[in-house]
Symmetry: C2
Subunit: 388 residues, 2 copies
Amino acid sequence: MLGNFTYCNPTKLYFGKSAIDGLNEELPKYGKNVLLVYGGGSIKKNGIYDKVIGLLEANGKTVYEDAGVMPNPTVEKLYEGIERAKKAKADLILAVGGGSVCDYAKAVSVSVNCKEDPWDKYYLRMEDVDCEIIPVGCVLTMVGTGSEMNGGSVITNYAQKLKIGHVFGENVFPKFSVLDPEYTFTLPKYQMIAGFYDIMSHILEQYFSGEDDNTSDYIMEGLLRSLIHSSLIAVENPEDYEARSNIMWTATWALNTLVAKGKTTDWEVHMLGQAVGAHTNATHGMTLAAVSMAYYRHIMSYGLKKFVRYAENVWNVSPDGKSDEQIAEEGLKAMESWMKKIGLVMNLTELGVKKDMVESIADSTLIMDGGYKILTKEEVIKILTESL
Amino acid sequence: MLGNFTYCNPTKLYFGKSAIDGLNEELPKYGKNVLLVYGGGSIKKNGIYDKVIGLLEANGKTVYEDAGVMPNPTVEKLYEGIERAKKAKADLILAVGGGSVCDYAKAVSVSVNCKEDPWDKYYLRMEDVDCEIIPVGCVLTMVGTGSEMNGGSVITNYAQKLKIGHVFGENVFPKFSVLDPEYTFTLPKYQMIAGFYDIMSHILEQYFSGEDDNTSDYIMEGLLRSLIHSSLIAVENPEDYEARSNIMWTATWALNTLVAKGKTTDWEVHMLGQAVGAHTNATHGMTLAAVSMAYYRHIMSYGLKKFVRYAENVWNVSPDGKSDEQIAEEGLKAMESWMKKIGLVMNLTELGVKKDMVESIADSTLIMDGGYKILTKEEVIKILTESL
């Protein structure tokens, strides 16, 4: 049953070839000072940096830079970004990159005028924003996180061995995002498929929760089928525009609040993956992939009906003459085989996790209460161990 | 392939039980004068009128009324509404009713300050709005049209025998909409199922177009499966909250611009249905139902692959040992049987169309160019005749 909710997603999207020209519509809405945020510099190699700078200059902006945002943005980098935004008197933060860069831009945007320590306030204490927010716009170069159209912002504190995501409200959503599928063509394959699994996991963690009949589950089955179909094409030919554009669009709708409306969600796989990330700095999507099969096999019997539905509606498993357990397991096997086919990392060992780190990773794993089984610490250890 | 597009849907939704209390959040954003727009007065019987008036008064508003909006709002009623809105110096138009009331409210909102004749400008010449718009809010009491979260506005001119829909831009979308599934419980069954088919037709007319692979088609298959499932429950028990809430949510997403993004669409069934409506004043959803089977059987061979996909993915038709034509026809048969089961009107005769009206209805039917076959006038006549 759909519970009560409000829905509003104010982000304006420019999608497709030459979507970057949308900046000409958006930039005039903001003041002169733009803080340009980006990562390791790949945008300088593929020409996106020059294109963006050209449009900023054509729109009369003074550009300040904040480069070097890492894949798992750290709290130390956040403090640096706050200082840069203050010095720039930024009227707009323009994030050019993947989800990490967008997440980081949002963190800076709510922290510049924050009177307390932002890590403590937003991430440890999960408090709301009560200061002025600097508007954020995004130019996406990697898909997966959905950060281009939501309020999510994940920051890592290695000293505390914590990687925490705060989901901010509509006022923190990017004001606009530029989504050009061609901008994702040059991404290395490892990052590309990690992004695919991040999308998959976003959908599954909202799907595998609740026993009710809910339109959102039907929408998610559609998104999953589209993702599976297009991902198999994209790994063969990363420049297949049709496949890459469908995946980009699926990624946005997988985590822009729609499919969670009125229903419960789980998110335990993200909690496991983020704990691994805080210990290893491994690529986010791969941490999710490495723990997923052990997690889903562990909870399958607690949410059997949904796993049967998943097998039939997403993986076309025929139910004829099979028990529910057999149908469900066949669905998970089909998923596992797809994961291997697109080249995901299927175990934690490959990500640098050793047996003696399991206890500490389990200590950093937040326990969620929306899934089919609320895990005990022993179960977390079991799942992590099975994932080695 | 997803074509280029922009996406922005700024409407804020309040969904669920007691969603009406969302008015306390929204009303303070607007000036004192509210034009309350509604239909035949059913809202006075079911208590919604009293509830809304109470909230308007509690928020210090001066309420002006514009009642009597008919199921197919006329251009004469539009002229009356413009005068009422002017006299009220309306700061907000609050539509309480179904899609017709919302459509009408939007027509008034763009016409009050329009210097030309709005019928000529917006409907005959399909021009953009270039005057000040009065903001609109909606309280929905019937689902189907999606008007609560889009820019659509259909107005009928009986003198000219024309029923035309203008799809306005984001600035005309309702600023907010209240969606309480319980508000739809008291709707007569005939109107309820007509609304169900309106939703179905919205999805199908966006689905049956194009040969490409497109995430939107997968989302639509999910919406269709949810609608079919819930509609069968709702006709048995109209007060099944789960079913009615899923249908309400599906209706909104079927026509709030999302599923059409980046793809071609058809809309010929709506053109046929609207022409019938302009000649008979029949209930909108029933006009669509009465012409659908003849239309889809007529175009099936031109878009065979999509009809096969529809049969398999929406109606679970097994393809084993069958030709594409057989699979596609089996899908249409399953659809036809569902239509009869929920009680739709399956022919035009029941809606008051006589053989000698067919030529004139064909003359009023706009020909669209997004479907699998661009119809000739002879084909329109054939489809209408087969639908008698």
